[in-house]
C-alpha cells in the first residue's frame, strides 16, 4: 500500500506487524519494510562500497529473504536486529560471489578485492570524504570497518558473518582505519 504514512510507525509495534506478515499479510510486511528500509539500505549501501544500484538490489533481496524466513524469527531479539543481521548476510554472500568471480576472471586477488564494487557511479549525491574513503577500502577491510565501527557488531559476530577468523577481523579493522586515515589525509 503506497498510501501508508510514516507516522504510523511511531511505536515499537514490530511484533504485531511480524505476526500479521507471518500470516501472509503483505500490508503488514510493507509496514516493516517502510520502517526499516533506510536502516537496512544504509548498511548494504556501505557494505557494497556505495554502489546505489547494487545496494537497492540487496535491499530488495534482504526483504524478500526476510519474508521467506519470517517463520524462523522467534522473537528472541528485536525484529530490527534480526533483519539487520540477515541483511548483512545477504550483502556479504552476494559480495563473496562477486569477489570469487572476479578472482577467477582476473587471477589478481588483490585487484579483485579492490574492484568488486563494480563500475557504476558509487556516490550519486553523497560525495562525502569519509564515505568515499570507506567505499575505497578493500572489500574485507570495508566489511569489518562498517560492521564494527559504524554498526556496532563485535569481532566474533563479524567473523561468523564474513567467514573469517576473529584475529583476521581485528587485523582488517586495524588496516581499514589506517587506510581511511591515509585517504582523508590526501
Amino acid at each position: 500500500m503506497a498510501l501508508i504514512q510514516r507516522n504510523e510507525f511511531g511505536g515499537n509495534d514490530d511484533a504485531e506487524w511480524v505476526e500479521r506478515a507471518r500470516n501472509g499479510d503483505n500490508t503488514a510486511f510493507e509496514m516493516l519494510y517502510r520502517k526499516h528500509r533506510n536502516r537496512i539500505y544504509g548498511l548494504v549501501w556501505r557494505l557494497c562500497g556505495g554502489d546505489a544500484a547494487l545496494a537497492e538490489d540487496l535491499l530488495q533481496e534482504a526483504f524478500v529473504r526476510a519474508w521467506q524466513k519470517l517463520d524462523s524469527f522467534r522473537g528472541e531479539s528485536q525484529f530490527g536486529t534480526w533483519l539487520h543481521r540477515l541483511s548483512a548476510n545477504v550483502a556479504l554472500s552476494d559480495r563473496r560471489i562477486r569477489v570469487r568471480r572476479l578472482e577467477r576472471e582476473t587471477e589478481l586477488e588483490g585487484a579483485a578485492e579492490r574492484t568488486a564494487t563494480g563500475a557504476r557511479d558509487v556516490y550519486a549525491g553523497k560525495r562525502m570524504d569519509l564515505e568515499q574513503a570507506i567505499a575505497r577500502l578493500p572489500e574485507r577491510a570495508r566489511t569489518v570497518l562498517v560492521l564494527f565501527d559504524i554498526e556496532g557488531y563485535r569481532h566474533a559476530e563479524i567473523a561468523e558473518l564474513a567467514d573469517m577468523a576473529v584475529g583476521s577481523s581485528k587485523a582488517h579493522l586495524h588496516r581499514a582505519r589506517k587506510l581511511v586515515r591515509e585517504e582523508l589525509e590526501k
Binding site: N26, Y41, L59, Q68, D149, R181, E182
Partner: protein
C-alpha cells in the same frame, strides 16, 4: 605516511555517520511482486476450476505484455549470453529472448487449448495438478506484469518475467507430451 587525523578523531567521525540512508528508489513494488510469487500457503488463491478462460486471458496478457515490451525497447540491441551482458542492457536483450520464445510459445499454447477442450480424457488428478500449476504461474505473471508497469526497466523483474515465460513454455510442452502419450494409450 603520517596522518593528520588520529584514531580517536576518526572513530568520532565514524560514529557520527548516519546509520540510515534513504535509497534513491522505492523498491517495494519489486519486493511485493516477489513475495507474492512465494506467498505462504495460507495466501494461495482458491484453485480455479475454469482453466481454459484463465489460460486464454493469460495469453492475451502475455501478448499485450510482450507487445508492450517489444515496442518499448530497442530491438537492435545485440543479443549476448545472459551471463555476459551488462544488466543495463537487459530490457533490450530480454525483448530479443522473448521474441525467440514467442512463436514457439504460441504454437504450444494453441495445443494447450486443444488439450483443454478434451480434458475429460485425462485423469481428474492430473487435470487438477495442471490447473493448479497454471493458476500459480498466472498469479506470478500478473504480479510481475503489474510491477513491470511501474518499473519497466528493472533488470530483476525483466529476468523474472523471462524465466516465467520459459517455465510456461516448458510446462506447455510437458502437457502436450502427456496428452500425446495419453492418446496413444487410449487408441
Amino acid at each position: 605516511m603520517t596522518s593528520g587525523i588520529n584514531e580517536k578523531e576518526l572513530l568520532s567521525r565514524l560514529s557520527e555517520l548516519p546509520r540510515e540512508v534513504e535509497p534513491e528508489h522505492d523498491v517495494w513494488p519489486q519486493i511485493s511482486a516477489r513475495i507474492n510469487a512465494v506467498a505462504p500457503e495460507s495466501l494461495a488463491p482458491q484453485r480455479n476450476r475454469f482453466w481454459i478462460p484463465r489460460a486464454a486471458a493469460a495469453a492475451a496478457v502475455m501478448a499485450l505484455a510482450a507487445g508492450w515490451l517489444f515496442f518499448m525497447n530497442d530491438a537492435s540491441t545485440p543479443l549476448e549470453s545472459p551471463q555476459l551482458a551488462d544488466e543495463r542492457q537487459l530490457p533490450g536483450r530480454f525483448t530479443l529472448l522473448m521474441k525467440g520464445n514467442e512463436a514457439e510459445y504460441q504454437a504450444a499454447f494453441r495445443e494447450f487449448v486443444a488439450i483443454g477442450e478434451s480434458r475429460e480424457q485425462l485423469e481428474p488428478l492430473i487435470v487438477e495438478q495442471i490447473e493448479s500449476s497454471w493458476s500459480d504461474m498466472l498469479r506470478t505473471e500478473s504480479e510481475l506484469t503489474n510491477a513491470l508497469e511501474l518499473n519497466p526497466n528493472d533488470p530483476f523483474l525483466n529476468r523474472r518475467m523471462l524465466e516465467l515465460r520459459e517455465r510456461q513454455l516448458d510446462f506447455l510442452r510437458q502437457i502436450a507430451s502427456l496428452e500425446r502419450k495419453n492418446r496413444r494409450l487410449t487408441i
